[in-house]
Structure formats: C-alpha cells, structure tokens
Amino acid sequence: MTPERPPAERVVVTSPRTGAPRPRRPYPASREITEQSQLGALYMRSLIRTQRTLGLLVVGLVAGGLAALPLVFTFAPSVSRFQVLGIGLPWVLLGVVVFPVFVLAGWFYVRQAERSERQFAELVERS
C-alpha cells in the first residue's frame, strides 16, 4: 500500500518582500512631526515616554539603593561595624564602590537611550 500523498495545495506566501522598494507614503513621518499632526504628536509622545521611563528607572534604582543606606546604618548599626579588608563597610561603600556603580549605570543609560533614539529614527525614516 503506498502512502497517501497529501493533496496538492496552493501556498500563499505572506512574508514581506523586504528587498523590494516600498511605495513611499505621501506623508513621511518626519513631516507629520514637523507639522504637529496628531500622528506626529503620537510618535513624539511615545519617544518621550520611553526616554522618561528609562531615565527615571536608572535614577530611581541607583538613588533608591543609596538612599536606603542611612536607614540601614541608623537602624542596623551592626552592619556599619562590618569590616571589609580591615576597612569599615560604610567607608568601602560610600568611598569606593559607588563610583564604578555610577559609571556602569550611566553607561547602561547611554546605551539604552541611544538604542531607543535609533529605533525612533528608523520608524520615522522608514515610513
């Protein structure tokens, strides 16, 4: 008995033809933004919201972590007596560790902010 062959079907190719030039929109997005149309305002609002969330997130995490320290030192004095390599923990944290943390947080922020600007630029220039 031969295996039943599946009936021939028509296949619909739905993937976009990425290589082909797409018809240009009569109104490029950059013009929507320049002319303050509702669509342009929408583009801008989403960019601003992304950047604001990112900025507040980075600042909130770093500043929030730091701002917890005085409370810890006050209400758990044993923590501030803890020694690292013979130096008190508060000195190590506030005198040394914070600075590379700032640079790392800043580096992360710059990377993410430039990425979202790039995405925004692609969105605007593609359309």
Binding site: V58, V59, P70, F73, V96, V98, G106, E125
Partner: protein
C-alpha cells in the same frame, strides 16, 4: 611648613592659568568664540573641562576637612556631587543640549517663550553663582593663609583678579583649554601626594583608627590661635606657652587645661606634648576615633533629616548650577552631551577616591586642626607634616598649587556663566564689551561678601548653593523637559516657592549664628523641605492654570527630544546629515 615652595606653586598655577588663557585669546576672535568656543569641543576635552570646572574648593579641601572632623557621614558630599551628574545624564543632558540654551535663562525662554520665566530664572541663577563664588574666594584666602600666613582676604582678591582678567581677555574658548588642563592638574596634585602619604603611614606602623580613645598629638605641637576660640577638653591636658585662657593671663611650663569648656583668646600660643589628648573646638562633635569612624554616630539634632537633605541637595542641585549648564552648549549635539556626561562620571569618581584618605590621615597626623577649627586646611598641612624634609615640602607645594587651581577653575566657570547672564538679562548689553563689563561686576559682589561672612566650612557653603539650585532650577528643568503641562505661571511660582526659602535659609546660616538652635539644621540643610515645595508648587499651580500652557509646547518638545539626525525642521540648526541630504537634492 616652608613657605617658599608653596608660594612658588601658587604663583606657577596663577601664571600658568593666565598663559594658557592668553594662548586661547589668539584663537578666540568672534563673539561666538567668546561665548561657546564655537561648539567644536570633543567629548573628552569637554568632559575634562567639566571636571576641572566642577572640582571646586569644596571638593579639593572642603570634603577632606569635613570627613576629618565629622567622619563617614560626610562621604555623602563626594557621592552626591558625582550622583548629580548621573541624574543630569539620565534626565537632562541631551534635551538641554537640544534646546540650544546657553544659560539657564535661555532654557527657560526656549521652553516657555515667556520673558517673566526668563527673568525669574536669571535672578536665581545669579544668586546661586554668587553663593557659589563666595566659598571659592574664602577657600583661596584660607590656602594662602595656611601657606604663607598672608591675611585671609588676600587669596580671595588674587583669585578674583586672575579670573577676571582671564575671562575678560579670553572668554570661553580659552576657558575650555584652561579647565581641561586644570582637571588633570588637580588630579595630579591630590593623587600623587596620597601615594607618598600612604607609604609614609605604612612606614610609621600603619596605625589604625578603631581605638575607643580621643585623637592625640603624635609629637610636640605648637598651636597658635588667630581668633578667639571656645574649646572642649575631654580630659585634663598639660601644656606650656603663654596666652589668655578664660580671661586669665597665663605663661610658662607645666600648665593644665582642665576637662571641660574653655575660651582661648586670640594671640595665644601653646605647646602641647606628644601623647596628650587633643582638646577640640567646642562646636565639633565630641567623639572618640572608634565612634568617629562609624556613620550616624555623631548625635546632633535630626541626623537622618540632615543626611537626606544633603542627598537631595547634591543629587538634584548639580543640574541647576549655572556653570555646569554652559558646558553642555559646547557639545555638538545631544548624543555628544550624553557621552561627555558619562566620561565626567568616571573622571569625578577617580578624583573623589582621594579626599577621604586625607581626612582619615589627618585624624592621626594633624589633630591640632580640631583645636583651631581650621579643618579645611587638613589637605594642605598633611604632606609636610607626614613626610620630613624637602620631599614633604615639595608635595605640600603641589597640593597648594592644586588647591589654587581648584579655586581658579571653578571661579572662572562661574564667572563666565554669570557674566553671560548679567550681560544678557541685567545690563542688556550684547557683544564682547558687555561680556567684559559683566565679568568685572560678577567678581566684585562675592568679593565684598567674603568680608562679611563668618567661619562656615567651605563645603557647607557650597552645599547651600546646591540647595538653592535643587529647589528652584531643578524643578524648572525636570518638569519643563518631561511634562507638557507646566505653565508659565506654574514655572514662576515653583521657582520662587522653592528658591526663595532656600536662599533665605542660606543667607541666615551664613550671616547669623544659629548653630546652637534646635532648628539650625533646617536652615543649614534646607533642601529636604524646599525641594519638594518647589516641585509640588510648580506642578500644582500648573494644573490650576491650564490656560497658560505655552502655545508652542509640542514644537518645543520635538526640539528637546527628537534626535538631531532626523533633520526635523524644528531642530535648531541643520545637522551634518541634513546638510548632506540637502546638498544632494
């Protein structure tokens, strides 16, 4: 301390600054060069310049002095000064550059299109700049006094003169060179001695600071009192010499300072033997070394309030400092502004590793500064104290030169921005001539103020300038950049509601003696109540006056936030890619 090398170092720094400035003068020809270095400064140059300008008297001598006297709670100063740039980077840098603002009043006008907002912003910016120049001049006076014994006002006068001449002749272009050069000079001047000091400390046995005892004199120490001083002795102290204690003239050997408070009159000179417990200024905390090394152990009223107020002021105040803002304009675009700020974070972090070491070593080697109250001098005195002979004197001279560089660079930056605001908003004189006249005026006022101010540590005075900036211009920047709802009325109300109380508190702290009152901390560290006040009033009043939203707010928002390379017409000037595109079509 041998004077000659120190004097030479100070002179070399002052002359070097003027020479580099003169070199800049030959290339700065146009008004645009004068104001913004024609916007051709690369991120590394610009970051060095920001670092050079930002590391002021407070950073170079003040932080070490405060840590020396008060312990690790004062580490929040360097942490906050650096964190301020993280906040600036994440929430302000790129939009501020894209706004095309040169000064804060420019930003206020660009964002709100309102002369009223601009006027209030310039008034506050001028007040902050003067409040910030004051400790620089004070610090210069202190340095020159420590190095040469010259009267206190002379150092301030010299700094004011050098900076005014430099700013008047060179403008911003030369200032960028000078500032970048100053950062590396300052880093060298504070980092090189630290290496030798740590080696010397190891060689002396690496004594630690965890003993439950008060600081003691390591060697026989002569202490001269320039001003009448109230001191506190934790135990009976033997001493010799002559002078006036508690109104009684005493002279000779084998004298005893009994435990308790005493008033020592100006002109007294005493010799304390090695091993004696150091009496200290009555207003400084009465802590043993072990307690000093722990955070939040100083006592005092509302310690948590004081720390959080300091955190708020420094984290949020940096963005509102007039001389910081100007630097962002010299970046070619918003992206470069971000990268510059990131480099600044690194440069500041490296520098701020050093001052705490001076503070700690000072506890061991220069405890007599606790007695005279000249705690800000600890950085200057340590090298020649710890290292004998020529080496110590040369290192001392290096530190003195670095300290002078700190006063010169910060004052230059403040003066440039202050002169910019004064010439545009107060004198209404455009062009190079107005800028020069304003620079002269900018120096005179704080110079006169130094004569009126009593002895507050320089870092505390700088803290007040930060508090005013954080409660007035910071809300303007943050809410202005990230919210479309802020109205002109709200902006003015918020700046005044936050800025005026902070300014008043600062003036009271500087000019009146309130340190023994329970409310002192609320005046000397006002940020924790004035910052929320500024933000809340600005937002609430804006919500109540929805009709006063600037009509072009959406257009301005595009300009602040859209990347330059899109070539949107609202961006202030065409980017390179836009120019190229236009050329092709």
């Amino acid at each position: 301390m041998n004077n000659t090398y120190g004097v030479v170092a100070v002179l070399v720094v002052a002359l070097g600054t003027m020479l580099v400035g003169a070199y800049g003068l030959r290339i700065s020809r146009t008004t645009s060069d004068f104001y913004v270095a024609s916007r051709t400064v690369s991120p590394w140059w610009n970051a060095s310049a920001i670092g050079g300008e930002y590391l002021s008297a407070a950073s170079f001598v003040g932080i070490a002095g405060l840590i020396f006297a008060h312990g690790p709670d004062m580490l929040w100063f360097p942490v906050g000064y650096t964190a301020g740039y993280l906040v600036l980077l994440a929430l302000v840098a790129a939009p501020l550059r894209r706004s095309g603002a040169y000064t804060l009043p420019d930003f206020a006008e660009a964002r709100f299109s309102s002369p009223a907002v601009r006027r209030v912003a310039s008034g506050i910016a001028i007040a902050i700049a003067w409040l910030y120049l004051l400790p620089q001049f004070k610090g210069a006076g202190l340095t020159l006094h420590t190095v040469t014994g010259a009267p206190d006002w002379l150092g301030g006068l010299i700094v004011a003169l050098v900076v005014t001449v430099n700013v008047i002749s060179g403008g911003m272009r030369s200032i960028t060179f000078v500032q970048a050069f100053q950062y590396w000079l300052k880093l060298t001047a504070i980092a090189v001695p630290v290496v030798f000091l740590l080696l010397a400390w190891q060689a002396h046995g690496g004594q630690r600071l965890n003993a439950p005892e008060y600081p003691v004199f390591r060697q026989e120490t002569t202490v001269d009192f320039d001003t009448t001083t109230v001191v506190h002795a934790d135990s009976d102290v033997a001493f010799a010499g002559r002078g006036l204690v508690d109104g009684q003239r005493i002279e000779g050997d084998g004298l005893t300072l009994t435990a308790g408070d005493h008033t020592i009159s100006a002109g007294s000179s005493f010799v304390f033997p090695a091993g004696a417990t150091v009496p200290h200024l009555e207003s400084l905390p009465h802590t043993t070394n072990a307690n000093w090394a722990l955070p939040m152990s100083e006592g005092g009223e509302f310690p948590l309030y004081a720390v959080y107020s300091l955190i708020l002021a420094t984290f949020l105040g940096t963005m509102g400092l007039p001389h910081v803002i100007v630097r962002f304009y010299t970046n070619p675009n918003g992206r470069a502004a971000r990268r510059t700020t990131l480099i600044v974070l690194g440069l500041l972090g490296i520098f701020y590793l050093m001052p705490p070491l001076y503070g700690v070593l000072g506890r061991l080697y220069t405890p007599e500064l606790l007695l005279t109250g000249d705690t800000d001098a600890v950085v200057l005195v340590l090298p020649s104290r710890m290292i004998e002979g020529l080496g110590g004197q040369l290192l001392g001279a290096l530190v003195a030169g670095g300290a002078f560089a700190a006063f010169l660079s910060t004052s230059s930056g403040l003066m440039v921005s202050l002169a910019g605001v004064l010439s545009q908003d107060v004198l209404k004189m455009r062009g190079v001539r107005g800028f020069r006249i304003s620079a002269g005026l900018a120096a005179l006022v704080p110079l006169a103020m130094t004569l009126l101010v009593s002895g507050i540590p320089v870092a505390d005075m700088v803290g007040l300038a930060f508090a005013v900036a954080a409660s007035s211009l910071c809300p303007l920047l943050l809410l202005g950049i990230w919210s479309t709802r802020i109205t002109t009325v709200g902006a003015v109300a918020g700046m005044l509601a936050g800025g005026l109380p902070a300014l008043a508190a600062g003036i009271v702290t500087i000019s009146a003696r309130t340190s023994d009152q329970w409310f002192h901390v609320f005046l000397s560290r006002p940020a924790a109540w004035t910052v929320p006040l500024g933000f809340v009033v600005m937002y609430a009043v804006s919500l109540m006056t929805p009709g006063k939203v600037p009509p072009n707010v959406n257009r301005v928002m595009v300009r602040l936030h859209a990347p330059e390379n899109l070539g949107l017409e609202t961006n202030e000037e065409p980017s390179m890619s836009e120019l190229r595109r236009r050329g092709e079509t």
